[in-house]
Amino acid sequence: MKHKNDILYILALILLVMLYLISSTDLFYKEQETDIYQISVILNETSDAIFENIKLGMKQVDKEWTTEVNIVTLYEANHAEQQMKLVEREVANGAEVIILFPVDAELTKEYLIQENWNIPIICVGTYLPEQVVDVWIHGDELARVQELGRKIIEDNLRFIYTIAPRIERSNVNQRLKGLKEVLEENNVGVECLYYETEEELVTLLRELNEKGIETGLVALDTMTLNLLMTQYRTLEEQNLYIYGIGYTSSLLSDLEKGLIQALSIHNDYDLGYLSLASAVALLQHEKVAYDQKVIGGLITKDNIYGTFYEKILFPIH
């Protein structure tokens, strides 16, 4: 009898522990969890202000899939090594895919080969080969700058200045090369100017503006154009013909006001959408094309509200 009691108590004890384990832990029964994809987007600027439509495109994917997107900006402008440290940090923090807007293609390539982070990398904008990244999403840079070049010729300018940060950026180099080809073929002179600090950029702008009318200036990246226009708007006399790459809402307003002659753009919304959609597809082990191109074009104050460009510039969200 005593023995039987002992056995009963031990059984009761085991049952109690088992019930507790089943109800409060996932030791025996694992509760089905929704997959939340951890994706880090590492930008090539210190602010995400010029990436508005890209973020909108990403938000669209976020509605369809559960993703936790971490958008990371640089601490210092154009700091390629710092960008790689940020990639490293995000991988260590559990990012499952990295969407990268590289500062410097060469350095990024070296790092990616050397570090071999073992997670999918999606490159946006700047070219990186298939050996180091899984997907490359971009606009047709060459076609875009050639179109811009033709517009400059149409505006009858005989000489233009290009301006860009003094840093090796492969997409900027590619733009410059394409633009120079078209312009020089048509006997338009080109001089490339570079700046390191914002103050330097302001000085260059003032000097060019003082040269008087019919001086053309092409900003080879959106951030440069943004900085440039912030100053240009405040000048009493505005003498320059300004062209640029990319857009923000304030740049579009400058275009409407005639402060900017033309902007070469691509579909940022699609760029954002495709990058995050590709990230999710890769995580679901689906096949994703390496080379993905988005449409673009040249906007002026006359075609900005045409159906085609309006859809690109002001996506419905």
Partner: protein
């Protein structure tokens, strides 16, 4: 001790040991997970200049702190585009993703209850800022806080600022020199506590200081620059009486009024705003606005971060902040003329 009692004692001891062990494992895991600090910020409308500059400052602070501490602080900003439903979804997402703190610039100040309850059950602190939920809701949970500025104080300063300018040069405001200030008022959102208080106390201050006033126009422009511009354009085109002073509940609307005057190429009118946004201060420097009342956005953002940081670190750090009623942190105002 009989046999039964002994068994009961053993069962109890085993059970308690088990609970303690599980608790230890959970705490340990939580520490491991919390290496990345996650702060979610929900704004009622990202295009509101005042809110946009607070967010920009907050982003800068987070970057500085990340570098100083060598940790990752994830800051995610959401724009509700003036929809409470959208904002609810955004807060729910932050809760589902286990954010450490959620800062909410609520769209509808009467709709905070469900957000507070959901965050409380997930044990995530909520920091409301700039738009204050109704008082009953603020006390639904201990981990609900508010950072904002005192609307009454800003309105009194707005009034004082006008008095100072009037004393210095009465003709600057009383253009027709009849001793009466014909004014128009641009109000924020109807029913918003700041709209009611700022309007009431700005006028009260002017009257108390002995200025004779006559209201010739006034309407709600929802704190929005474009709406304000449209309203002022209409007033200036149709009002029979001259407007000598435009009181605005915020800087964006004051700038909208200036836009309308510029568009109509009309004679300048004394316009006074509240908030001290970068654009507002720039307009004061240029002489487009007579003055504004400034709530330092850098300090505002710093205080939001300080509170979030304390909430993440623990209760003793929150106590050190000496919040009013353990909930409220008030921002100071200053005149900009």
């Amino acid at each position: 001790m009989n046999q039964k009692k002994r068994y009961l004692l053993i069962i109890t001891i085993v059970f308690v040991c088990f609970l303690l062990f599980k608790n230890y494992i959970n705490t340990d895991l939580k520490h491991e997970e919390n290496k990345v600090v996650k702060i979610g910020v929900c704004t009622y409308k990202a295009s509101d200049t005042f809110i946009a500059s607070i967010v920009t400052e907050l982003e800068k602070i987070i970057k500085e702190e990340e570098q100083l501490r060598e940790t990752t602080i994830k800051l995610d900003i959401s724009d509700a585009k003036e929809s409470q439903l959208t904002q609810n979804e955004q807060v729910q997402k932050y809760i589902a993703l286990d954010y450490d703190v959620i800062c909410v610039n609520i769209v509808d100040r009467t709709s905070a209850a469900s957000l507070i309850d959901q965050a409380a059950s997930a044990q995530i602190p909520l920091v409301f800022f700039n738009r204050q939920p109704v008082e009953e809701d603020m006390y639904r949970s201990d981990s609900v806080y508010y950072i904002g500025s005192n609307a009454k104080e800003s309105a009194i300063m707005q009034g004082e600022l006008i008095i100072e300018a009037y004393k210095q040069n009465p003709e600057l405001i009383d253009k027709n020199q009849n001793g009466i200030i014909e004014y128009a008022i641009l109000e924020g959102e109807a029913g918003h506590q700041d709209t009611v208080i700022r309007t009431e106390y700005a006028i009260k201050t002017l009257e108390e200081k002995g200025l004779e006033l006559k209201r010739v126009a006034g309407w709600c422009a929802n704190f929005d620059r474009n709406q304000a511009a449209a309203l002022v354009e209409q007033w200036l085109s149709h009002e029979q009486e001259e407007i000598e002073l435009i009181l605005s509940n915020n800087d964006d609307m004051a700038l909208g009024a200036a836009d309308a005057i510029e568009k109509l190429e009309g004679e300048s009118i004394a316009i006074v705003g509240i908030d001290g946004t970068p654009q507002g201060r720039e307009a004061v420097d240029k002489g487009t606005l007579l003055g504004t009342v400034v709530s330092d956005q850098k300090l505002y953002a710093r205080q939001i971060f300080t509170l979030c940081d304390a909430l993440i670190k623990g209760e003793e750090f929150v106590d050190q902040l000496e919040l009013e009623d353990n909930k409220y942190m008030w921002m100071p105002w200053g005149k900009y003329i």
